[in-house]
C-alpha cells in the first residue's frame, strides 16, 4: 500500500501537481531539485546519498592514484632487474626444453615422453633408492644379520632412499636439533614469561637468525664443518630456531589466562606455571607447527644442497653445470616426489592433531597409510 502511495505521489509530481503529502518533509530551502523523483526524498536521505557519492568518488581517485604509483614503481623495478631490455635467447631455451622433456617415438610415429631416460638416471645416481642398502632389507630368504646390519651398522633408514634420503635427513636433523632451542627461545621470548624489555633479547636473537636465509647460514658453517650435509643440517637447525621460535611466540600470545591463574592459586613455582598453565595449552599447536616447519626444512634442504652440500639439490646443480638437462629433469621429478610425500604425511598428521576427533594413533596412521592411499586413488 505505502509503495503504491509513493508511486502515486511521483506521478502527480511528474505531472506538475503540488506535492501536498511531502510538503512538510521537504523544506522550502532545498530548491535545487535536479530531477522530479528526488524532490519527494527527504533531505536527510539525499544528504547521506551525496555523502556516500562523494566518499566513493574520493576513494576511486585514491585507487587510481595508487594504481598509477604501483605501475610507475614496477617499471623502475623492471629496469633494475634488467627485464626492460632482457638478453632473451628463445632458441636456446627451446633447445633445452627438448632436452628437459626427451621425446621418443613409438613405432617411429607416436611421440611420447621418454620416461626411461629419467628412470635410468634415477637408478644410476640412486636418487630415490639405494639398492646396496636396500638389498640388506629386501632379500629372500631374509637374513637376520643383514637386517641387523641395515638398522644398526649401516644405519640405513634414511640412506635406503639414496640422495632423496640425504635431503630428507638434512631436513629431519635440522628440525630435531632446532626444536628444543626454538622451544626455549620461543617461550622465553613471550612477554608473559619474560618481562617486557628482556624478552626482546630472545625475540631479537630470533629475528637476527631469520634475517639471514638458511643458504647463507650454510656458507657460514662451511668453514666449520666442511662443504657437505653436516654444514647444511646445522644451518637448517639454526634457521629452525628463528622460524619455529617465532611461531611459538605468536601461539603463546593467544592462550587463555584461566589455566595460568589456576596454576598460580595452587602455589606453583614460576617454571611450573609456564609449563602447566601455558605450554600445556599450546602443545598440539606446537606439534603441528613443528611438522609444518619440517615440511619447509625439507624444501630448504634441497636449496642448500645446490651449494654443494649434497642430496638432490647438489645433483641438480651438477647436472646443470654439465648441461645434462634430461638428468636435471629426472632430479627435479625426484624432488617433487620427495616433497609431495613429506607434505602428504605431515598434513595428514597435522589435520589429525587439529581436528579433535577420536585420535588415530601414530601407528595406525603409518600402518593404515597404504590402504588409505589405495582408497583415495580408487575414488
Amino acid at each position: 500500500m505505502s509503495t503504491d502511495d509513493g508511486r502515486g505521489d511521483n506521478e502527480t509530481e511528474g505531472t506538475g501537481a503540488k506535492p501536498t503529502v511531502d510538503a512538510k518533509n521537504t523544506p522550502a530551502s532545498d530548491g535545487g531539485v535536479r530531477n522530479d523523483q528526488a524532490s519527494d526524498v527527504p533531505t536527510r536521505i539525499r544528504e547521506q546519498f551525496e555523502n556516500i557519492k562523494q566518499t566513493r568518488r574520493r576513494r576511486a581517485v585514491g585507487w587510481v592514484a595508487l594504481a598509477g604509483f604501483l605501475a610507475f614503481t614496477t617499471v623502475q623495478a623492471f629496469a633494475a632487474t634488467e627485464l626492460l631490455d632482457p638478453d632473451a635467447r628463445l632458441g636456446t631455451f627451446v633447445d633445452s626444453l627438448s632436452e628437459f622433456f626427451p621425446i621418443t617415438f613409438y613405432f617411429d610415429v607416436i611421440p611420447f615422453l621418454d620416461f626411461t631416460q629419467y628412470i635410468s638416471f634415477m637408478r644410476h645416481e640412486n636418487l630415490l633408492y639405494d639398492p646396496e642398502i636396500g638389498g640388506l632389507l629386501f632379500q629372500w630368504p631374509p637374513s637376520t644379520a643383514d637386517i641387523y646390519a641395515f638398522f644398526f651398522t649401516e644405519l640405513g633408514i634414511f640412506q635406503i632412499f639414496g640422495e632423496a634420503g640425504i635431503t630428507l635427513a638434512m631436513g629431519f636433523v635440522g628440525t630435531m636439533v632446532g626444536f628444543p632451542f626454538a622451544l626455549v627461545f620461543g617461550t622465553l621470548g613471550s612477554e608473559r614469561v619474560t618481562p617486557f624489555p628482556f624478552n626482546f633479547i630472545f625475540r631479537g636473537t630470533m629475528s637476527f637468525i631469520r634475517a639471514i636465509p638458511a643458504i647463507i647460514w650454510t656458507l657460514i658453517f662451511i668453514p666449520f664443518l666442511g662443504l657437505g650435509p653436516a654444514a647444511a643440517a646445522t644451518a637448517i637447525a639454526f634457521d629452525t630456531i628463528g622460524n619455529l621460535g617465532r611461531l611459538f611466540v605468536d601461539e603463546l600470545e593467544e592462550i587463555e589466562d584461566g589455566p595460568i591463574e589456576a596454576m598460580r592459586t595452587t602455589g606453583a613455582s614460576k617454571p611450573q606455571i609456564v609449563f602447566f598453565g601455558m605450554l600445556s595449552q599450546v602443545r598440539t599447536a606446537f606439534i603441528a607447527w613443528t611438522l609444518y616447519i619440517f615440511e619447509i626444512n625439507v624444501r630448504i634442504a634441497v636449496t642448500v644442497g645446490v651449494l654443494g652440500a649434497g642430496g638432490l639439490g647438489f645433483i641438480v646443480t651438477s647436472q646443470q653445470n654439465l648441461l645434462q638437462f634430461t638428468n636435471m629433469m629426472a632430479t627435479l621429478i625426484s624432488i617433487f616426489i620427495l616433497i609431495i610425500s613429506v607434505e602428504l604425511f605431515s598434513q595428514r598428521l597435522r589435520s589429525r592433531l587439529r581436528a579433535d576427533d577420536i585420535e588415530m594413533s601414530l601407528w595406525e596412521l603409518i600402518t593404515g597409510f597404504p590402504r588409505r592411499m589405495a582408497e583415495s586413488a580408487l575414488k
Binding site: D257, G258, P259, E261, A262, M263, R264, T265, T266, G267, A268, S269, P271, Q272, F275, F276, S280, Q281, R283, T284, D356
Partner: protein, 261 residues
C-alpha cells in the same frame, strides 16, 4: 586451623567500585555462601581472597598471614574450570600438588606414590575414579568442574574458594558438584567460600551466607536469618531496577575482566 579476616576491603577499577568497604570474619570450618546478582562483586571478593588480586584498600588475613599473593593453603575453583584440557583427569588432579614437587619431577610426573594416591583419592571423593585416565577436554561440564575440585583438594588447602562453580552447569550437574564440594569440605574440615547466584542451591548447601549488592555487604548471617525479605532485598527488585542497573553492572563486569587479563 584457618581463620579468615576480611578487613575493610575496597577494590576499585578506575572509577568503578567493585568492592566497597567489605568486612567480616569467618571461623575455621564454616561453609560460607556468597550471594548476589551478576556484577555485585562476588568474583572480585573471591579473587581478592585468593591473592590473585590485591585490594585497593583494607586487607585480608588468612591464618594470621595477609594474602599478598596466592598461597598453597588457599585453593580456588573457577567457573570455567580452568583445568588443562590436553591432560587426563588424573594428571590434572596431580597438578594441584605441584607446589610440593620440583619442576622436573612435576613435568615428568615423578611424584612419590603417596602423592599419586592422594590424587586418586581426590578423584574418588568427586566420583571420578573410574574416569581418571580420560582426557579432561572430552569430559562433560560437570565432570570437568569436579576435576577442578579434585585438583583443589590435592593441593591440601585449609581454605577452599569456589567462584560460581555451578554457574555454567545444568541443574543436575550443579547439584552433584555442590554435593561434592560439601562432602569434600566436611571430610577434610575445610573452610569453604562459594559464590552462587542460585538461591535454591544456596539454601540447600550453605551454613552461613554473605550477601553482596553493588560491592557492599548487605547481609551476613546463618541459615535461619536468610529470610525471604533478605532474598528480596538481594534479588527482589531485579525485575524493576534490573532494567536500569543492567548497563552499569555489565560495564563493571567488563572492567573486571579487563583488569584480570
Amino acid at each position: 586451623m584457618s581463620y579468615i579476616e576480611v578487613d575493610g576491603v575496597t577494590k576499585r577499577y578506575g572509577d568503578v567500585v567493585a568492592l566497597d568497604d567489605v568486612s567480616f570474619e569467618v571461623p575455621a570450618g564454616e561453609f560460607v555462601i556468597v550471594l548476589g546478582v551478576s556484577g555485585s562483586g562476588k568474583s572480585t571478593l573471591l579473587r581478592t581472597m585468593s591473592g590473585l588480586l590485591q585490594p585497593t584498600e583494607g586487607r585480608i588475613v588468612i591464618d594470621g598471614e595477609p594474602m599478598t599473593s596466592p598461597r598453597p593453603e588457599v585453593a580456588m575453583i573457577f567457573q570455567q574450570h580452568n583445568i588443562i584440557g590436553d591432560m587426563s583427569a588424573y594428571s590434572n588432579a596431580l597438578s594441584g600438588g605441584i607446589h610440593r614437587t620440583g619442576f622436573l619431577s612435576s613435568v615428568l610426573q615423578l611424584q612419590d606414590t603417596s602423592e599419586k594416591h592422594r590424587a586418586l583419592e581426590a578423584l574418588d571423593t568427586v566420583g571420578l575414579l573410574e574416569e581418571s585416565e580420560q582426557k579432561a577436554r572430552r569430559m562433560s561440564g560437570g565432570q570437568q568442574q569436579r576435576v577442578g575440585i579434585a585438583r583443589a583438594l590435592v593441593q591440601r588447602p585449609d581454605v577452599l574458594l569456589a567462584d560460581e562453580p555451578v554457574a555454567s552447569l545444568d541443574p543436575g550437574s550443579a547439584q552433584s558438584v555442590m554435593g561434592c564440594l560439601r562432602t569434600a569440605s566436611e571430610e577434610r574440615d575445610l573452610t569453604t567460600f562459594c559464590s552462587l547466584h542460585q538461591v535454591n542451591i544456596a539454601r540447600k548447601f550453605g551454613h552461613r551466607f554473605i550477601g553482596l549488592r553493588d560491592g557492599r555487604k548487605v547481609f551476613d548471617g546463618y541459615r535461619e536469618d536468610l529470610t525471604i525479605d533478605v532474598i528480596d532485598d538481594l534479588y527482589g527488585d531485579i525485575d524493576t531496577e534490573g532494567m536500569f542497573a543492567t548497563d552499569g553492572n555489565r560495564s563493571k563486569e567488563t572492567n573486571e575482566e579487563a583488569a584480570a587479563t
